[in-house]
């Protein structure tokens, strides 16, 4: 267990989405911490609640169709969920910044990129027009945009996808945030451009000592970029731990299934072993473990109650069969007594 103080602590976060059948929990009692200067991967398939978790942290859930109904998000001693909108706005962008999959989500097509970066600086940092422009130029250089003087006066549509993502990174970093939420930052990009952007994020993260939550569906990206990882399924965190441990020995059958589903370009694979069934949609979730309907190890106990996250050292898993839960798992030694960590 780390003794450091987390920079961000999320506890019992619950977010609901309005659907045809009423309010459904899309983020369900999610708790985790983020330490200063670390890269935390948040991985899961579409609809698992990973993006909604990030949006909930920043108070950006789309209203009125979504609402945060419980939990707290502690950032530097303040609960962001209970902060008045005016104060929250000061945190957003300045202390905690976010970048999205599609750069055009955060770029305005009718302003030049220079003006857009400068605007952030003038609002949050109170810089003069001239100083803001000079800083914007510096930022474009920082994110590796060639000929930044010329790019400053470009409109977003004049840039390639990779360049646009560099601009949104420049904007996100303009006020020197402490935390960066990166939601699928490279998913829309080609693989050689993705490598450039990941390389850039990695360099900036180390240079600036940023704490990053990297949200992605790509286990490859997590393996190469994150140090610790949270695996989400149907609104819950099902596994947590250091990247090296999780990839070497995944404990949750879902994590195991995801890894067995991946065609690795570096290895000869005879047969992939897919997870049967479909990713559940909100509202479809039944009693008991959410993964049980697709789990080949499921037994009667799995359908009775939703398993808590059983924790030991740096690892945690929400599976009653896991050695961490005190039950013998596949090939596992008898586990020591572990207490479920639940509020």
């Amino acid at each position: 267990m780390r003794t450091e103080t987390p920079i961000l602590a999320v506890r019992g976060l619950t977010t609901e989405l309005a659907t045809e059948i009423g309010w459904c929990r899309v983020v369900d009692d999610v708790s985790f911490v983020l330490y200063p200067g670390e890269v935390l991967g948040l991985v899961g398939e579409s609809g698992c609640g990973k993006t909604m978790t990030a949006l909930s942290i920043l108070g950006l859930v789309p209203q009125p169709q979504a609402r945060v109904t419980a939990g707290e998000v502690l950032f530097e001693g303040r609960d962001l969920l209970r902060l008045p909108e005016r104060e929250l706005r000061r945190v957003r962008g300045k202390e905690i910044a976010m970048i999205f999959q599609e750069p055009m989500t955060s770029l305005n097509p009718v302003f030049t990129v220079g003006d857009q970066i400068a605007e952030t600086l003038r609002v949050h940092e109170g810089l003069s027009r001239r100083a803001a422009r000079a800083r914007a130029l510096e930022l474009l250089r920082l994110v590796g945009i060639p000929a930044p003087e010329e790019r400053l006066d470009c409109y977003p549509h004049e840039l390639s996808g990779g360049m646009r993502q560099r601009v949104t990174i420049a904007m996100a970093l303009s006020c020197s945030p402490k935390v960066l939420l990166a939601d699928e930052p490279t998913t829309a990009l080609d693989v050689t451009i993705q490598a450039q952007i990941l390389d850039l994020l990695e360099r900036l993260q180390a240079e600036l000592g940023l704490a990053v939550i990297l949200i992605t569906h790509d286990l490859g990206v997590v393996a190469e970029f994150a140090r610790r990882v949270l695996v989400m399924y149907a609104g819950r965190i099902v596994e947590e731990g250091p990247v090296a441990d999780i990839f070497a020995e995944p404990l949750h059958p879902y994590t195991q299934g995801l890894l067995a589903s991946l065609p690795d370009p570096r290895a000869e694979i005879v047969r992939l072993e897919p997870i049967p069934g479909n990713v559940p949609v909100p509202g479809e979730i039944r009693r008991g473990c959410r993964f049980a309907p697709r789990c080949r190890f499921a037994r009667s106990g799995c359908r009775d109650a939703d398993p808590p996250l059983f924790r030991r050292d740096a690892r945690a898993v929400a599976c009653i069969r896991s050695p961490l839960a005190g039950a013998p798992g596949p090939g596992a030694e008898a586990a020591e007594a572990t207490a479920p960590v639940m509020p």
């Binding site: 398939e45 579409s46 060639p146 390639s160 990779g162 360049m163 080609d190 693989v191 050689t192 451009i193 993705q194 490598a195 450039q196 990941l198 390389d199 569906h217 790509d218 286990l219 490859g220 990206v221 997590v222 393996a223 190469e224 970029f225 990247v243 090296a244 990839f247 070497a248 299934g257 995801l258 890894l259 067995a260 589903s261 991946l262 065609p263 690795d264 370009p265 570096r266 000869e268 694979i269 047969r271 992939l272 072993e273 897919p274 997870i275 049967p276 479909n278 990713v279 949609v281 697709r294």
Partner: protein, 331 residues
């Protein structure tokens, strides 16, 4: 190798773009496919990889003659089909199928699943109503759906199930040649593996000849017998799968392979390409990759490398692996 079912030689496709520039209209040409040659045998899967805009999807559509080539030869079962009219193509169309990327837009939302799956049979006047209904049921079962799904509509299905429906439709006429254009790119990881296994099983069971187009090098490795790598409208390297992944020779193939994040933690050397791919409206002279190539040298900027065989079945278009020639000859 048996006689190829599908073969292309010097295949080119140019699209004309018109754009207003002041009072004048400017005509510009986008060369999507710039002289591509390869063959696919019966029962073989050729993977076609490359990044967006490299011309891989256009190549697939040309092979099916959904597009007409600007020049070059396309042979299907020994017969040249590049000049055939829509009418002349019709009997051949029965023998070809395509699976699209997006299972959300590829299915007509107003048709039932049975109507969707049997539409190719109706179009080609195959069987009567009852036999088509039986065929639909058999197809749905083969792709892992149930008979009871036949009367439902696309919106009732998940992405993975819709892709199964798309595959059933593509197989309705028992084609010999199937183009799969990014068939799993829109699917979640856990569903992707299901669909890949299904495609692999069907390909083997039916002895299909497949062109499998994807940007995902892992996916292509899993399903292909041979792999071709495209860059800006050209094939830069083509080889049997194990050879291409084990011993890639073209610097672009090497960079592409090293750029894919792999699900195993730890540092490994990465070849970082600088800049973006050049616009296909103005491809660079010489080797098209030289502007981003970490190993470019003198001839690369002027002389276009030929695709030459460097080992059995392994061809590469790179001056590092071929003696540079001032004039191009047949390789």
């Amino acid at each position: 190798m048996t006689a190829p079912l599908v073969e292309v030689e010097g295949l080119e496709k140019r699209f004309e773009l018109r754009r207003a520039a002041g009072l004048r209209r400017v005509r510009r040409e986008l060369q999507a496919v710039a002289g591509v040659s390869f063959a696919i045998a019966r029962g073989e899967t050729l993977g076609l990889v490359g990044e967006s805009g490299c011309g891989k999807s256009t190549t697939g559509r040309l092979l099916l003659r959904l597009l007409a080539p600007s020049s070059g030869v396309i042979r299907f079962d020994g017969r040249e089909i590049q000049h055939l009219s829509e009418r002349e193509l019709r009997p051949l169309r029965r023998r070809m199928g395509i699976v699209f990327q997006d299972p959300w837009s590829a299915l007509d939302p107003r048709m039932t699943i049975e109507e969707i799956v049997t539409e190719p049979l109706v179009v080609h006047g195959v069987g009567d109503r009852a036999s088509r209904r039986r065929r639909a049921a058999a197809l749905l079962e083969r792709v892992g759906l149930a008979r009871i799904h036949a009367d439902r509509y696309p919106h009732e299905f998940s992405g993975g199930q819709r892709q199964r429906i798309g595959i059933a439709r593509a197989l309705a006429l028992e084609p010999e040649f199937l183009v799969c254009d990014e068939p799993v790119s829109a699917l979640d990881v856990s569903i992707r593996a299901q669909i890949l296994n299904l495609l692999l099983d069907l390909q083997r069971e039916l002895g299909l000849c497949c062109l499998f187009i994807s940007h995902d090098l892992g996916v292509v490795r899993y399903v292909s017998d041979r792999v071709a790598v495209m860059y800006l409208g050209k094939i830069v390297e083509i080889a049997p799968t194990a050879r291409l992944y084990g011993r890639p020779l073209h610097p672009y193939t090497q960079a592409l392979l090293s750029a894919v994040p792999i699900p195993r933690p730890g540092r490994r050397p990465r070849i970082l390409l600088e800049g973006d791919p050049p616009s296909p409206l103005a491809p660079p002279p010489g080797c098209r990759f030289h502007t981003r190539c970490p190993r470019a040298f003198a001839p690369c900027a002027h002389i276009e490398p030929e695709l030459v065989e460097v080992a059995p079945g392994h061809r590469v278009a790179c001056h590092l692996h071929t003696p540079a020639r001032a004039t191009g000859g047949a390789a």
